[in-house]
Structure formats: C-alpha cells, structure tokens
C-alpha cells in the first residue's frame, strides 16, 4: 500500500516550503508596502459563479462536485469571480477605491506541463473603483517592484504594455467593424507564438474578401507588429484625427510617463501584440516575460470595466494582475536565481546544551524561558557529549549555543558560544536572560 500525490499537485517538504514561503512572503510584503490590504475567499464556490464569469466551457477545466445537499460546487480556478462576488456584496459600504491583494490556492483540471500545474498559488492585486492612468501604472509598478525585490533586472525580464481600448479605437478608425474585433484580438494575441509567415497567413484569414483585402492586411500587420517607442509613434500617425484613438493614445502615453516617474521605465515596453486572451479586459493590459528561454507570460493583467456588472454588481472599473508561484519558480530556476536555503530559512536563536545529563532539567527550564520570551530555542532529545550537541546546533542553523555546565548551579553562570565566529563568553544567568540577544555585547 503506497500512496502518492495526484499528478500535477505538489508536496511541500520543509525545503520546498521555505522557497514557497519566501515567494509568498515577498508577495505579501510588496503588497503591503504598496498600500494593498489582504483578503481571501473559500476554496470552493457555487459552480454557477464560475459559469457566470466564463461560460459553460469553464466546467471541464474545473474540479467540480455535488455535495450531499445536491449543491453543484467547484474548487476555485482563479480569484476574480470570488473577488467580484465579495465586492458586489458590499458595494454600498466599501470605501473606494478598493486596493486589495490575495494569495489564493487555486486548482485547475488541466494537463500538467511546464509552468502549469493542477494546484498552485497565485498572487492577485486589484485596484477597483477608479479609472485613472495612475492606477494602471501603479499595478504595473507593483509587479515590477516584486521582480526587482527578488533580484531580477531589466536584463532578465520585460513588462510589455498595451491598451485594448487604443487597439479597438484604431481598428474602428480604420474601418474594422466592432463585431470583427474579437477575431482580430485572437490573431494578434498569438503573434509571438507564430512564425512571421504563419502570422501573416492568420491575418489573411480574417481580412475581408474583395478590394479591401490588401489594405486590411497591411493595416493589421502594421498595427499588430507595432512595438517599442517607434511602434508607438507610428500608431500616433494612424490615430491622428480620430478623437477616440487620440484619447486612448494619450492615456497610454500617460501610463508610460508615470512609470518613468516611478523609476521602472527600463523594465517596460509598448507592444501591440499584448492583447490578453480573456474577454473581460477593456483598457491598458500588460504581461511580463522572461528574456531568456522561458517565453511564456509570467505575470499578466489589465483594466476591466464590466466584470463586476457581469456578476450582478454595479458598474465599476478596476485593474489588476496575477502571477503564480509555479511560473516564478520556473523562471528563477532558469535564471539560476533560486535563493539558497541558508538565505531564506529562519535561523534558530539558541541551542541549549547540557555538559552533563544531570543538568537536563536546567536545559529544559532555560529553553522554556527563552521560548516564552519569543526566541527560537532548541535542545537535543539525546543526552550526549557537548561536541555532538554543538554539531547538532550548527546543523540546525543556530546563531548561539548556550552551554549549561556545573558552574550553572554552582556559580549561576552559563557559557554562550557564537557559532558563526566561534567566540565564547561566560555570563551570569540573570544577565543573559535579561537580554538574551546581546550575549556578546551585540
């Protein structure tokens, strides 16, 4: 009888957990530093909630079940439906704008592959209730700041930014009817996954037959391949004279200006190929990519205007992004940037050692006092030689060994050994307990 994890799910042994905690703790710290508050929702919801947001097709991607009360339920595959439900339930009383973050555990019934597992942790950031370039830029800034905090530079990563509103305005200005936009978005969204030839073939498939074909093709290729500063300038020419396109261009430029003020322009780049597959994005959208081998998006988000309404709430604009521990870890592995255990695991403050088995009670009493005072203090379950206990202390990533010898009961003193420097001092028990963190006068 051998039991295993279900394929696509992971055990977190302490060394794995240390890395997960390091990622999640960094997410939380960055979120708090940028003024976001944490929230969470249940791991399962009514299946209807997910259908309402994504349609019937989502069901096959969910772990869903019927409970004893015949309720159709599903494990959450993303946080957005629950977020919308929560905001809608208190739309009248929540002060705006809402700046919230979460780190939900999510499950998706998909085939496990690189960067995608059946269970993962996602970092979600949302600013809801305000439609402003500052919040577009702030969301992007938060994501970039996280990458910066884990040591990734513009040489490692690029944040590609676009505006679906600008794209739509340009298409309308160039005579593409609105009911054709969705198909065009799909083709542009796949641009970087296709060869140049295949991209052009895809574009041809969505152009109208007849006399406009050639012109449409040229326009779509020009729009679809626009990127970087020159790309944005070429679109400026295209937008000229069309109020809606000009307005959206100004907004997008404003976002880039703010990112410059925020000091992260070197991570950011305009790219019309960033469309985001999900239907609910309406404004500025963005995706981060590793510059080395890992070509898939490692973080993505953007502005949504109808999401809350679709789930029964008031009309309210929001912007946000998500990224997962799985892609972040894949990227870090690829860049050889996974932190070492020593840098992320918690150091024990003290390891209390008896010089003689008779002193074990003194050891226990001292350990209890240190723990009560909020220090991490450990001891050996085995009564054994001092040397062996010191070895255990070192293996345990301990800062100081505290040695209890006969002088403890005879003269009321103990010895503290700094396991980094090897330095050892003898100090009165009382002095030590009054300020355990300063045994060496540090």
């Amino acid at each position: 009888m051998k039991f295993r994890t279900v394929k696509g799910t992971r055990d977190f042994y302490p060394t794995d957990m240390a890395i997960r905690n390091w990622i999640v703790d960094t997410w939380k710290r960055v979120s708090l530093n940028h003024g976001f508050e944490e929230y969470d929702s249940p791991i399962f919801e009514y299946l209807d909630l997910f259908k309402a947001k994504s349609g019937e097709a989502i069901v096959s991607e969910l772990f869903h079940f019927t409970d004893r009360g015949d309720r159709e339920l599903a494990i959450r595959p993303e946080m957005t439906p629950s977020l919308a439900r929560m905001i809608n339930a208190r739309a009248q009383s929540l002060p705006l704008p809402i700046k919230w973050f979460s780190v939900p555990r999510l499950c998706r019934a998909e085939r496990p592959q690189r960067g995608r597992l059946r269970e993962f942790f996602q970092w979600n950031i949302d600013i809801v209730g305000i439609d402003d370039a500052v919040t577009d830029a702030e969301c992007i800034f938060v994501a970039v700041d996280f990458f910066r905090q884990i040591g990734l530079t513009p040489a490692d990563i690029v944040m590609k930014i676009n505006s679906r509103a600008l794209l739509a305005a340009l298409l309308s200005a160039r005579g593409f009817a609105e009911n054709r936009h969705a198909d065009i978005f799909v083709v542009l969204d796949k641009r970087d996954k296709l060869s140049q030839d295949d991209f052009i073939k895809s574009v041809e498939k969505i152009t109208q037959s007849g006399s406009r074909r050639g012109k449409e093709k040229t326009t779509l290729i020009e729009i679809g391949q626009a990127h970087g500063k020159t790309g944005l300038e070429s679109l400026a020419g295209m937008a000229e004279g069309n109020k809606s396109a000009e307005r959206e261009l100004t907004r997008l430029r404003n976002v880039f200006d703010i990112l410059n003020t925020l000091g992260v322009a070197d991570y950011c780049e305009f790219d019309m190929g960033i469309v985001r597959g999900l239907a609910y994005y309406t404004g500025v959208v963005f995706e981060a990519f590793g510059k080395a081998g890992l070509k898939r998006a490692i973080c993505g988000g953007g502005r949504y205007d109808q999401l809350l309404e679709v789930l029964g709430g008031p009309p309210m604009s929001g912007t946000g992004f998500g990224t997962s521990d799985v892609v972040i870890l894949d990227l870090l592995i690829e860049l050889n940037h996974v932190p070492t255990e020593a840098t992320i695991s918690k150091q024990n403050d003290f390891y209390v050692i008896d010089a003689d088995a008779n002193l074990f009670n003194e050891v226990l009493s001292l350990v209890a006092k240190l723990r009560k005072a909020g220090f991490a203090a450990e001891f050996s379950y085995r009564r054994q030689a001092i040397g062996k206990q010191i070895k255990q202390a070192a293996a345990n990533n301990t800062r100081w060994a505290v040695i209890v010898g006969n002088e403890y009961t005879e003269r009321g003193v103990l010895s503290v050994k700094d396991l980094d420097t090897g330095e050892q001092v003898e100090i009165p028990i009382r002095t030590f307990l009054d300020n355990p963190h300063a045994p060496m006068g540090k």
Copy 2:
C-alpha cells in the same frame, strides 16, 4: 443574479483577514520558536488515502469527486493522512526525529455549527520518530505557549492530560479483556457530555452480567472519574503490583514533571476522562478546554504508534496535536479577547502628500523610492487640500505624513509630520531618504 458563499464557508474581508493572519502568524511564530519546520500537502488527495486511515465511513464526511481521468479524489479533511504519506515516502532519508508543523486549509462536509465549519484552518504540530516523555510534554508545552502568547491564562483555559496506555493497563489489571477496551473508551470519552446519572447508566451497559457486575461498575466509575492530583494518586494504588500499569503511570508522572520544569504546570491537569475519540491514539493524550462557557475541546492530540504503519510505512511512534482557527476565534470572542484592529493591522510607514497638484510627480517619485527601499508608503489618488490628505493618512493607519511643498523643488527640503504626536519637522530630501525611519532623529 446574486452570488453567495456556500454555507459553512467564509469570506475574509480585510478586517477578517487581519484576525486570521494574527492567529496563523502566531501559530507559525510559536512553531518556529519551538524548533518545528513547516510543510504542506496538496488540498486534494486520492480518496483511498483517507479511507485507508479512517475506513469507508469517512467518505460521507468528505467533499469528494471524480476527475476527468476517473480518479476518485477528495479535499483533505485533516492533515494526518497526508503527513503520514509524506513521511512514509521518505522514511529512509528523513533525519529523525521529525519536528514538523503545518497550517492547512481543511474541508469537511458536515453540518455547520458553533466551532465547526465546512472550511477552516488547522494548526498541526508533530514530533515523529521518538517515543519519549520529553516529546509528549513538548507538544503540550507548544499548545500552552500559544495560548499564553495570545494572552490566555490558567484562569481561561485548562489542558487536560491522560494516558491511554495507562488506562488500558489499568483495565487489563482489573480483568477487563482487551476486546472490551474500545467500548469502555467510548463511554469514558463521553463522560463530560453526560449527567452523572447518564454516565453511570452508560457504564452499567458495558459491564458484564452476573456476579462481577457490581465490582466492574465501581471500578469503571472510579477509573473514569479520576482527575487531578488526588485522582492520579488513587490510580497509583490501583496500579501497584502491575508492571505495565506502573510503567505507564511513571511515564505520565514524568510528563507532568517535565511540564512543571517547563513552567506550564498551572495550565495542566490529569483527567482520565480524556480518551480522544480517534482510534489511533496509543499513549499520552490531551485536550484543552476553555473554562468559561465554551465547553468543547479547543485543541487535542496525543501519541500514536501505528499510524504510519497503517498507511504503508515503517513502525514509528509520533505525537502531535491540532487546533482550528474557528474554535480559537470562538473562544476569544467568548472571553472578549479578540485583538483590536489597531493592534494587529500593519501600520503604513509613510503617506506622501502634495501641497499643490503640480507637485504630484514629485510625490510619485518619492513614494516609489520609499517603496523600493522596503517601506510601506501610500499617497492619495485625488489631488486635494493638504488637510484632506492628512486625514486620509490618519485613516490609513499611517505613522508619518510626508509633505511635499514648493520648498521641495526650491530648496530641496520636505516636511515630516508624526501623526501620533503631531510634531512636524522640515528636513533635506537627501537626509530623509538616507534614513527615512528617523525623520525625528528617532
């Protein structure tokens, strides 16, 4: 179209999340201080894993489902089966003893009631691979230390301790065959839920008919009601001359001695009525109870000897306990001991304010620098009067308001206002940025 949470599950709005984080963070800090390492497992496992531990009857208490690959899966209702699976998978390589903790999200398909929800967070502590009174005591000590850290005293809470091994030895010594022990355990386990009369009736039901009935009844009532120091002494008389009972009594007394050395004896009490319903406990067992209205156990655990073997692993003794955020919170509410938001929510370091809308870019740039340096810094999305922005800063639980006026560009200085004391100083931008946490020389 209004969506709700499933009954028995909870949303965590930021104020709820702050309390959950306070509980969970305390669990984690206490665990680390006591030398435990964190681990985790997937939220769902093969249904067979849970059946192997608890039998077919468990299925109705689980949220279970069949995935597209026809695998029978279930959301974990407890952590122990996953813990056993993980240890068994690496039984050859994990250094012993294992000191692990976890804070899993668990789901149970039971009727929601006070202290029991369908989804909750559980704190689990386990020491595996060593069978020693020190580890029995250390587990109890960890639980008590948590209660102490959240401000609960022996006036609020009692840790009741027993030994199933002692109980079994006493029963055997008094002629109760081993195949009768399970039934007796069930009756003793329910002792505190029954009136004295009903308890005696339950005891009568499990006594043998015939001449031994009266004697059996007296013995069971004496054993079953033994508690406190006098109870332990009366059992000592009963154990005398029986080696097995004497050995287990010595072990239990040793546990109490160590708890005394650890400084938590005032929280602890012997009680033969603590049997723990779960079949897998074999040695010292314990349960904590609130002393006020909430009579149900708020934490429980004990030693298990066959658990790992049952799930296909090597024979290995372990001890551990669990408690949930739901019972802890119920207890704190009852004792009027829930911390205020101010004491547990993170304080913003800075709120950067513009004295004039033209200076907004300077505000953004300053905010970005503070956040980059790892500080929590916020600003207003609205350009408005200084007074309103300072109000927002205060509402945002901020330590210092940083005011950017014309002197910022003209003379390179800014003002820092301590929002606790109202004190305000003007300092050079460079000086402030070199050491933002000491604007007042603190």
